[in-house]
């Protein structure tokens, strides 16, 4: 049933080994959360198990919120393993960095991402690691992955932190156009999520607090 198709891990993440395999004839990804020798086993075991279960649950629930995710084929929490659909596409990060597309197309994509995140939040789903590496693009459709740090929550603060993760990812990895990208993201976000405004207001507060900034210093980067 499970058969390896490639022996080199093309998809190294920081916390897991990902291998492309054949699963009952289908192209699949096997994600194994590996043990980290730097931390004590109590913490290591707890994190790997909890994140495997969380990730599988959220991948499945996100579909109900009309957000595309890979199909989960199998979960083995003891082996800290998830087998999921292989998404034949590109990372949003690479798309945004590519010279092939003009900035209008890229901003449109950011708006689309904002809409999808709005849908997740409207359904109380927190992604926990929103970055342009954790969103894939397949046939012009967005597919969200890597939900291991996520949770189910209706707390404004949790949603605001999610939004901020995207903002920070844009600043650190897409420095050149980050401000426009974040504006587009927010437009999409408030369009699909009625409470979006309130979340953005909190995001500003959390950002100012964590960075010892005054709210006036960053308010212009928000659209509420």
């Amino acid at each position: 049933m499970e058969q390896k198709t490639s022996y080199n891990y093309d998809f190294w993440g920081a916390e897991a080994e990902l291998t492309k395999i054949k699963w009952f004839g289908l192209e699949a990804i096997k994600k194994v959360r590996i043990s980290k020798k730097y931390r004590i086993s109590e913490i290591d075991e707890m994190l790997r198990k909890k994140r495997t279960i969380t990730e599988a649950k959220l991948l499945i629930t996100a579909k109900k919120a009309k957000v595309q995710t890979p199909f989960v084929y199998d979960v083995d929490s003891k082996k800290r393993t998830i087998i999921m659909e292989f998404i034949d596409g590109t990372k949003v990060k690479d798309f945004l960095k590519s010279e092939e597309f003009d900035s209008k197309v890229k901003r449109k994509l950011m708006e689309e991402i904002g809409k999808k995140v709005g849908l997740l939040h409207a359904n109380h789903l927190i992604h926990g690691d929103l970055t342009t590496s954790n969103i894939l693009l397949r046939n012009k459709k967005l597919v969200f992955i890597d939900f291991g740090l996520g949770k189910f929550s209706n707390e404004i603060e949790d949603k605001a932190v999610d939004v901020l993760l995207m903002k920070k990812c844009l600043t650190s990895t897409h420095a050149e156009d980050n401000k426009e990208y974040f504006i587009s993201f927010q437009k999409g976000y408030v369009s699909s999520y009625t409470k979006g405004d309130e979340i953005l207001k909190r995001a500003l507060k959390v950002e100012a607090r964590g960075r010892h900034l005054k709210e006036e210093d960053v308010i212009s980067e928000y659209i509420f």
Binding site: A14, R39, I43, L149, S172, G210, R211, H212, K214
Partner: protein
């Protein structure tokens, strides 16, 4: 070319002197001690700095057998930090610059931590974990600037340790609080579960502090076990986010600086993590990891050589000075 640097962004007052080749000629430091059981009081700290700064400067000159005439440039910490404290250093630097007709350079504090680490650790392009009482950040160079890849969304890790220590009634008279906790932790054996909070590449400690304070009040656990559990949890979080920054930026060096970088357990964990990625690890010794004037002198020198200088009229400080605000023209694009 000789640079004299003044650091006064928080409770430490430091003056260092360094030359163009990175030879350390002096690195003098004094620390303001708040009354037992309380945190830094900015105004009192600034009064301490103002009182001590003349002596610290003379001591630095004396140990290096130099006079002000030998010094070529004066550097100071422009920010971020506590306003009243920063102002003392800035005013002293401007006074010296005016009196001895020397150029003046105001520098960014976290970047100074990074640059002294690159110099002493002989590192080219590290991912930097900067952990102290006032800061918790993961910094790396990208697209012409230093950028913050991860940080605390509430309190700094050193602050979390310090408040836990104070709540536990520990004294930091003989050693820094973090060190006192480190020693207790060495005798801890039982892991008590504590919330583990990372959000993307960010960390959060305030919930942990609340939780551990409750455990403390219960009096069911030994201080050794609590210290051990707290350290293992917060350090695992820090190493994990550093690892993620390392994997995402594809760099191959890891540097740790700031007061908490003195911790042996943290350094051991970072080393294991770095080596598992084929990366080199370097931890600064305390005299250079903790806030010091030398790092300010060194960054001032680098920037001056690149054409930076601060007009005398403009020696304003910036309490919220961000690392991204500085155009890093002394490094090649990576």
């Amino acid at each position: 070319m000789l640079s004299l640097g003044i650091e006064s962004s928080a409770d430490k007052l430091g003056v260092g002197i360094i030359d163009n080749n990175g030879n350390i000629l002096a690195n003098v430091r004094r620390t303001y001690k708040p009354p037992l059981g309380s945190g830094i009081h900015p105004r009192e700290a600034s009064e301490f700095h103002a009182k001590n700064i003349p002596e610290v400067i003379s001591e630095a000159l004396k140990t290096s057998k130099l006079t002000m005439d030998n010094i070529d440039i004066i550097s100071f910490t422009k920010g971020p930090g506590l306003g009243p404290c920063l102002r003392v250093g800035a005013v002293a630097a401007r006074t010296l610059a005016l009196k001895y007709k020397k150029p003046l350079v105001g520098v960014n504090h976290p970047i100074a931590h990074v640059e002294i680490g690159r110099l002493v650790g002989n590192m080219d392009d590290p991912v930097v974990l900067y952990v102290s009482g006032g800061n918790t950040q993961i910094i790396a160079f990208s697209e012409g600037r230093y950028r913050v890849f991860g940080e605390t969304i509430d309190i700094p890790v050193g602050n979390c340790l310090d408040v836990f220590g104070r709540n536990a009634g520990l004294s930091d008279k003989k050693a820094p609080m973090g060190r006192v906790i480190e020693l207790l932790a060495e005798n801890g054996t039982k892991y008590i579960p504590i919330p583990y909070v990372i959000k993307g590449m960010d960390v959060s400690f305030s919930g942990i502090l609340t939780h551990i304070s409750k455990l403390l009040k219960k009096k069911e656990y030994t201080l050794e076990d609590l210290s051990y559990s707290l350290q293992e949890t917060v350090f695992a979080m820090l190493v994990e986010v550093t690892e993620r920054a390392l994997a995402h930026t594809k760099k191959n060096e890891v540097l740790v600086c700031g007061g908490v970088a003195s911790n042996n357990r943290l350094k051991a964990m970072l080393k294991v993590m770095a080596e598992s990625h084929g990366a080199r690890f370097f931890g600064l010794e305390p005299s250079l990891a903790i806030d010091n004037g030398l790092m300010i002198a060194w960054l001032g020198l680098i920037m001056y050589n690149q054409g930076y200088s601060t007009p005398l009229k403009e020696t304003i400080i910036d309490q919220h000075y961000r690392v991204e605000d500085v155009v890093v023209n002394w490094r090649n694009e990576n």
